[in-house]
């Protein structure tokens, strides 16, 4: 009787220890810290190979885009520092110059941030100001040219 209870207890403790180990290593490896461009420059935290998030505004006029290869290059700023970012893929629709964006990835050589994920900051409550709302017909014509 007592030995059965003890064995169950030991089994339980082993499970608990294993889960605690998982959580510990998980929080060490898989947490993604968020930085602003100036924090990233100041603290030397952006060592290559470590996955982080970087948030800022896309600098006006800095966006270079090759439609053929889907390569994007732009600068992210928080007003004081600027970090060049490279990205390959399809960014979200709200991603544009002058708008806020959060990128996820890592620093590579020459202080360039290699992103593989872009999250455009968008306001859930966004509504076009009354009166300037395009009519459905105008919207349609602006999007597509009838053959």
């Amino acid at each position: 009787m007592r030995s059965a209870n003890r064995r169950v207890l030991i089994g339980g403790l082993i499970i608990l220890a294993a889960v605690a180990y998982l959580v510990w290593t998980g929080t060490q490896e898989a947490l993604i810290y968020f930085y602003t461009p100036s924090e990233l420059q100041a603290e030397e935290i952006g060592r290559p190979g470590r996955r982080i998030r970087l948030g800022g505004l896309v600098v006006e006029g800095s966006l270079n885009y090759e439609p053929e290869t889907l390569n994007y290059e732009f600068q992210l700023t928080d007003g004081t520092a600027m970090i060049p970012v490279q990205f390959k893929g399809i960014p979200p629709d709200l991603f544009k110059e002058g708008a806020g964006a959060i990128v996820e990835g890592q620093m590579v050589a020459n202080g360039v941030f290699q992103a593989d994920l872009i999250m455009a900051k968008h306001n859930e409550e966004y509504r076009a100001p009354a009166g300037t709302r395009p009519k459905s017909e105008e919207l349609y014509r602006s999007l597509i040219k009838e053959q």
């Binding site: 998982l22 947490l31 968020f34 709200l94 009519k135």
Partner: protein, 656 residues
Amino acid sequence: MTADLGNIALWIALVVAVYGAVAAIVGHRQGRPALLDSAYNGVLVHCALVTMALLSLEYALITSDFSIQYVVFNSSRNYPVWYKIAGLWGALEGSLLLWAWMQAVLAALVVLLYWRKHLAFLPYVIAVLMGISAFFVLVMLIPANPFTQHFPVPLEGRGLNPLLEDTSMLVHPLLLYSGYVGFTVPYAFAMAALITGRLSAEWLYITRRWAVTAWMFLTAGIIYGGWWSYHVLGWGGYWAWDPVENASFMPWLAGTAYIHSVMTQEKRGMLKVWNLALISLTFALVIFGTFLTRSGILTSVHAFTQGAVGYFFLALLAVILLSTVTLLTLRADQLKTEGTVDSVLSRESAFLFNNLLLITFCFTLFLGTIFPLLAEAVRGVKVSVGAPYFNYVAGPIALGLLFLMGVGPVIPWRGGSWGGLGRNLLGPGVVGLAAGATAFVLGIRGPSVVATYAVAVFVAAIAVQEYYRGIRARRKTAGEGPLRALGQLFARNRRRYGGLVVHLGVALLAIGIASSSTFQVQREQMLKKGEALEAGSYRVRFDGITGSRGPTHVKVQGIFTVFNDRHEAGQMTPALRFYPRQQEPIAEVDYWIGFWEDLYVILGSFDREGNWAVIKVMVNPMVSWIWMGGAIMVLGTLLALWPARFRSAAVRGERS
């Protein structure tokens, strides 16, 4: 007018709910049956009043009554009527009304079913249920009123969030809320058992079906949510470990632990405190999830309002936890366990380990979900805990659970011998290992995928073996044909054989998740007209774009011809929907669902003249196994829940 009607109904409903709760307790304490009856009537009246409020809001939504703010923000004149109806649960205030209504209906059902039964419990059950109902009505009357008026009255409403314009909107929230609300009945009985000191397994027997039904709705709701995410959100996945998803998954884990651990108390008289604590935890996690998602405390892909609502839910959460702990402490002397674990190789110890894993799983999710809050509050750093953490932690725990799911049903209560266990596990073990080895030979190298395949096949093989043995035994003893024997197995032990079907569903689900998360093929590219992109065995050629006007939006479709192994397989038309009131377009994915793989195409951007388009193509293997697994889980639960009188009819038929 409508708004006044709704508000008045809610105010009276609040008064009636409080009266019902008080009258039930006083009537019971003072032995006044008339007062008790009036409390029961109060529950019915409360239900009628909340129904009236609900119908008022629905009436306003259907008739586009834009004098009510909620209608302005969640409906539009040109919607089809079912979207107008679904506007009810399109945002916070209406969702609360739906929740309160379901809660009221459930309380009324409890009263109608048990009016003269379970007299010792019912007054306190009613008090707890009416307390919860009063809470929801109060939240609607103070911080989140669905009937707030809007001046000036606009001509047109703003419509739902376009992402919610999907038929799933009519199903997913209803399933999820049914699951959440359903757990309040076993919770109320647990509290009644604690208050009255009637702590035998009686309350478990009464609420067994309620808990399993709630679990089934929650399961269906979560999996349906995955399907919604997969075919609407257009990122090619079905689960993102978003806080809102975790908020529904945590009570599911606790509820799953509960519906397993109750069996240990029924059979062995063990785990009494644990079961009471578990059902409270399940309900507390439902409320915690609502707090997380409705308080705006976490940013998430789901849009939520901020406000005082969070404090109300936090207060309710505190009440639930404190009352449970207090009552458990007061009743500690009556909650001594009757049985002990006789052997590690016993069903009860398998259930203990299963519960431990489920609850630690739940705790790791809890930790991951609130960690960003803690980190920011304590250390002032912004950190995100994303899918990598959850996948890393969840994988091994889920695998352990899967393994126990196979072993558990074939270990006898009280304990078995190693030899007996060996006989039960040998066949399925060999089949599982063979499946793992086959996967390895076929070139699959990821250890976690191979292990998942092996264990999932092992679980499925156990289920099949148990069916086979059951049928064989009945054929021998009763001389029945195989189909009749199968029917009899269900008729005689619906819980066990229904449960095995659920386990089979989970095995399919596990295979689907492991395959789709490991072997997804993803390509994105800009295509000029006539150019093609290759992904897996598919070639996708861009042929141009076309536009169309819908009732609420303008749609631009890309036209793609798909070749599978060089044969033309058909046309796909992923689209972008543009809403006049929305800054960004919404992607409408096109997909082919298949048994082995899905082809999934997203339109990224396009040229106005139709000369080029950017597309993303994914080949998602075995995602359909997830939906099949989910359907089988629900089916198995229904089999387990099938009412008992069908059994007695079957038994009579057998005798004659």
